[in-house]
């Protein structure tokens, strides 16, 4: 499924300063029963966001009108646990295009890159600064510059660069996905399959 290309993003950000946010929190298993990729954003952080009777929990950040934007800033080890790509879909579908954290779980990071959500890993110190800046002024903006691989706190100009492999970067910039690439090398794959040890 191709997605919108990603180049530069300037936005306010939603802070979630909790560590080890696992994909069961991002989207609980009981919402994985769909056979199409629609509507997952409604259930993003479902059990943190709503009471059992479906009324919003006022103290959860997504229900707090103070904060908005298309960047989600999470604590260390974001996206651990289940491989469910639904977690990345829910984040995308809700309207986030970028997640910032000081550390991402592997599968989650890969899933994000595959569907057009940019995971931006920053140092623990910079993450603290970002949280502090948002809490001090919820209107503070972050700039994510994918071509330059930088993230900037616009208010102060403080900046860090982030890693992304050049192949994935190219994909994100163009909105390509891996399947386009793999289908193009199908004959190479079929030749290779004949050389497998077993």
């Amino acid at each position: 499924m191709a997605y919108d290309s990603f180049n530069k993003l300037t936005s306010r950000a939603v802070p979630l300063p909790i560590e080890n946010v696992d994909t069961d929190q991002i989207i609980p298993a009981r919402f994985l029963k769909a056979t199409e990729r629609v509507g997952f954003g409604d259930n993003l952080f479902r059990d943190w966001r709503y009471h059992p009777d479906n009324t919003p929990k006022a103290d959860f950040v997504l229900n707090d009108p103070t904060y908005s934007g298309s960047i989600l800033v999470g604590g260390k080890n974001f996206g651990s646990g289940s491989s469910r790509e639904h977690a990345a879909w829910a984040i995308y579908d809700y309207g986030f295009r970028c997640v910032v954290s000081s550390f991402f779980a592997d599968i989650f990071r890969g899933n994000c890159l595959n569907i057009g959500v940019l995971p931006v890993q920053v140092s623990a110190g910079f993450l603290e600064k970002i949280f502090a800046a948002i809490f001090a002024d919820p209107h503070t903006e972050l700039e994510i510059n994918l071509p330059a691989q930088t993230i900037t706190l616009l208010a102060t100009g403080e900046q860090e660069s982030f890693d992304i492999n050049s192949y994935k970067k190219e994909n994100m910039l163009n909105g390509f996905d891996d399947i386009d690439y793999l289908i193009n090398i199908k004959s190479n794959i079929q030749e290779f399959a004949k050389t497998l040890p077993l």
Partner: protein
């Protein structure tokens, strides 16, 4: 140079390396289930393409299936629709190895793969489920993938993966009384934390693993993901070969001999260098239990819950976690009242786990106010439970057996632990709400689960074992 087990298997499957990017990795076997595959098939449909090697994909329904009355139509319309979609997709795309609900071969994807010989040494195996790492027990490279990657494998039999870093965890010596493979895994995770192995692929080595059964090795490799590792693997040896031989999809005759010749080369060379090495002593490990909301928050069962200052990570996160569990710093785990016991899942839903459970409850009786769900990982396990007389022991002690499936491991079906209730579970995740909204999970071995099931409180199984 390919001189670790991991490198040997990985390098044999690299179709090409992309400059500055991932490797294109050929996948020998692809396991699919009803929950993470439908959108991948939809992707194929939208692109107008088919499945490149349908014979390399194996499908089961497990995540979303009931564990009672499996012969009746599935009640929940959404679940029923997912099951029907899997059946239709496998038919449309020529995937003949499809085992739906009611089929004898149906069961948890990571339990049936090994049982039918689909899992073999030296293979690359993926599935849209993070505990695919289970299959690493056979010396395979096995890991969980997302739905986009499921679509990649269906369409091209390949995925794009950067090669992970390597870690070896060696445990020598022997395990004490009442200490089983689950404890070994929870011990390692408690040492590494839930993110300590992120970016790594782990090889487990040393006497403790060499002396483990295949079931035990599967439990350990299964939990690799809970410390963030992409996967874990153990070099194949005679224990492995004996397990694989004679199963439905295992090589036969001359193919077997050829396979054996190759499989015997699959071990790490003495001069191999790992990016990270950790060594523990088996005698350090006691029966383990978790007290928080991630699998890294575990400790020896006789210990007390540590203070926030003693653990890695932020105090706020730690307090949120204990708050969810209803526990306090300094609490002893032993003696805590429990409400539910769940034995099952791809972590501990194999025959050895039910043997262990039965060995402890034999001659005792289920505690009155505890609900116990015993869910075999597959029909094969269920059959073994009956044939070995384990069911009689369980029945006599007041327990009943449910039908195979993932069940309360992820609580997608009706097997949900109610809000606020405490469950001792042999599964793999104690995340908030994992076993049902508001449910509180203590991860532990089948022995610890058995001790809790007969006493109604957290109990050191060593005090009950003869």
């Amino acid at each position: 140079m390919s001189n670790t087990l991991f490198d040997k298997v990985w390098d044999a499957h690299v179709v090409r390396k992309i400059d500055g990017g991932p490797d294109v990795l050929f996948i020998d076997r692809h396991l699919i289930h009803e929950v993470t595959s439908p959108v991948a098939f939809l992707g194929l449909k939208n692109r107008g393409i088919g499945v490149l090697y349908p014979e390399r994909t194996f499908a089961t329904a497990d995540h979303n299936t009931p564990t009672i009355n499996q012969h009746l139509p599935v009640q929940d319309p959404l679940s029923a629709n997912q099951l029907k979609t899997l059946e239709e997709n496998t038919k449309t795309y020529g995937i003949k190895n499809y085992w739906g609900l009611g089929d004898y071969k149906n069961g948890i994807v990571h339990v049936i793969g090994p049982e039918f010989g689909i899992t073999q040494p030296g293979a690359t195996i993926v599935c849209g489920d993070s505990h695919t790492s289970t299959h690493g027990a056979f010396g395979a490279i096995a890991f969980g993938i997302g739905t986009s990657e499921v679509e990649m494998v269906l369409s091209s039999q390949c995925i794009m993966q950067p090669k992970p870093k390597s870690m070896r965890i060696t445990i020598n010596g022997s395990l004490g009384k009442g200490v089983v493979p689950k404890d070994v895994a929870l011990f390692i995770i408690s040492k590494l934390t839930t993110s300590g192995a992120t970016g790594y692929f782990v090889e487990y080595a040393g006497e403790v693993f060499e002396n483990m059964s295949m079931e035990g090795r599967m439990t350990v490799c299964n939990l690799s993901i809970e410390m963030g590792a992409r996967g874990g693997m153990i070099a194949p040896d005679q224990t492995t070969f004996d397990y694989v031989q004679g199963r439905e999809f295992s090589p036969k005759g001359a193919d077997w001999d050829r396979a054996m010749a190759y499989w015997k080369t699959l071990k790490t060379e003495p001069n191999a260098v790992f990016d990270k090495e950790l060594v523990f002593d088996g005698a350090e490990i006691e029966p383990m239990i978790t007290y928080g909301t991630n699998p890294g928050m575990g400790m020896g069962i006789s210990h007390h819950i540590p203070d926030a200052e003693q653990v890695e990570g932020g105090v706020a996160t730690y307090e949120k976690s204990l708050g969810y569990m209803g526990f306090n710093e300094g609490d002893a785990m032993i003696g805590k009242k429990i409400d539910y016991v769940f034995v099952g899942s791809c972590t501990n839903g194999r025959i050895e786990d039910f043997r262990a459970f039965a060995s402890l409850v034999k001659g005792k009786h289920k505690a009155n106010d505890v609900t116990v769900w015993l869910v075999p990982g597959s029909h094969v396990v269920e059959k073994q439970i009956r044939e070995e007389g384990i069911l009689d022991v369980l029945t006599e002690a007041g327990f009943t057996l449910r039908q195979p499936g993932c069940s309360a491991c992820l609580a997608m079906n009706d097997d949900k632990v109610p809000a606020g209730k405490i469950a001792v579970s042999t599964s793999n995740r104690n995340f908030e709400g994992r076993q049902g909204p508001g449910a509180r999970t203590l991860l532990a071995s089948p022995l610890v689960a058995a001790a809790a099931a007969v006493t109604g409180v957290v109990t050191d199984p060593r005090t009950l074992l003869q």
